[in-house]
């Protein structure tokens, strides 16, 4: 009973504090700039406890921009494996959803969800910061409520 209440509180705090690790797997930097705009005064993401961290070992959410190229596939998979559970993946921008303008290029292997499970998709070329914020909050909801992610 008491333990359950503590566990509920810990899960709730997972929802309130999201640490995001950002991986660029070969995008054109458009979405990266929008992600930086997310932390500026207008779209202030820090008020929801969202913070960019440098190490995948600290992160709860992997934010992927860009199509997966031959060179960036291994770093992406390694960063995903390094993240402690529970974790969620958010793919930002048209390129990471389907390849976008880079699709069928000689070095592009395909969209992100061919390699790792993606929980929330955010479309747009480039994605609007407001929608990135909405997607991150949606991922927080998933992280808090999905039982599958908590079994380890």
């Amino acid at each position: 009973m008491f333990l359950d209440a503590i566990k509920q509180f810990l899960r709730y705090s997972q929802k309130k504090s999201l640490w995001v690790f950002h991986v660029n797997t070969g995008s054109c930097n458009g979405c990266d700039i929008e992600i930086l705009a997310l932390f500026s005064s207008k779209y202030d993401a820090e008020r929801f406890g969202i913070k960019l961290v440098g190490s995948p070992k600290h992160a709860d959410i992997l934010l992927v921009t860009g199509p997966v190229t031959t060179k960036s596939r291994d770093p992406l998979l390694r960063a995903y494996d390094m993240m402690p559970k529970p974790k969620a993946v958010v793919s930002v921008g048209v390129c990471s959803l389907s390849g976008g303008v880079f699709a069928k290029s000689y070095n592009v292997l395909g969209p992100v969800d061919n390699f790792i499970p993606v929980h929330v998709y955010i479309g747009g070329c480039s994605a609007h910061p407001n929608m990135i914020l909405e997607g991150l909050l949606r991922a927080a909801q998933i992280l808090c409520e999905e039982e599958e992610l908590w079994s380890f």
Binding site: S98, G100, H128, L133
Partner: protein, 158 residues
């Protein structure tokens, strides 16, 4: 530096610039925002020019269904420029978030009329005439309500 400190201290008493965000996204974007293509079925002649010009293969026509794959669309506006009938329209709105990719398929129906003789689907004659004359037509001659095959029969009944 002293000026900067002064700004920082006065900022403490100002209202923050941050947009309100209550569970949902903010609805209004500026009118200059390009947005995403919307297909208008009643103006479409199914000429497939948009499929030809689209650089990222985002448009597909299956039967009478016109499918825009927003996973692929990069909002380059080529389709709207190429469309002779103005069926592709850019509305300033945001593309949403989704849990599955199927939510990004935007499916609309192309409203084709039927040939009065054989029932074959064909584009609206008003559209073609309007394109030809440069203004909306007042009257439509009856042979234009037929499909090309029937029209040939209409003129040379053999």
């Amino acid at each position: 530096m002293v000026k900067l400190i002064g700004w920082l201290l006065t900022n403490l008493f100002k209202k923050p610039l941050t947009f309100e965000f209550k569970g949902k996204s903010l609805k209004a974007v500026r009118a200059t925002y390009r947005g995403y293509p919307t297909h208008r079925g009643e103006r479409c002649a199914a000429c497939r020019l948009c499929i030809y010009v689209c650089p990222s293969d985002a448009i597909r026509i299956e039967g009478s269904l016109f499918i825009i794959n927003k996973c692929k669309c990069t909002a380059c506006k080529d389709c709207a420029d190429a469309c002779p009938f103005g069926a592709m329209q850019f509305i300033p709105r945001l593309i949403g978030t989704a849990i599955s990719k199927n939510e990004y398929m935007e499916i609309t129906e192309i409203k084709l009329v039927k040939c009065e003789n054989c029932g074959e689907p064909m584009p609206k004659p008003e559209l073609l005439l309007g394109r030809l004359l440069g203004k909306p037509p007042k009257t439509i001659p009856p042979y234009l309500r037929l499909c090309p095959k029937c029209r040939r029969q209409f003129f040379n009944p053999t």
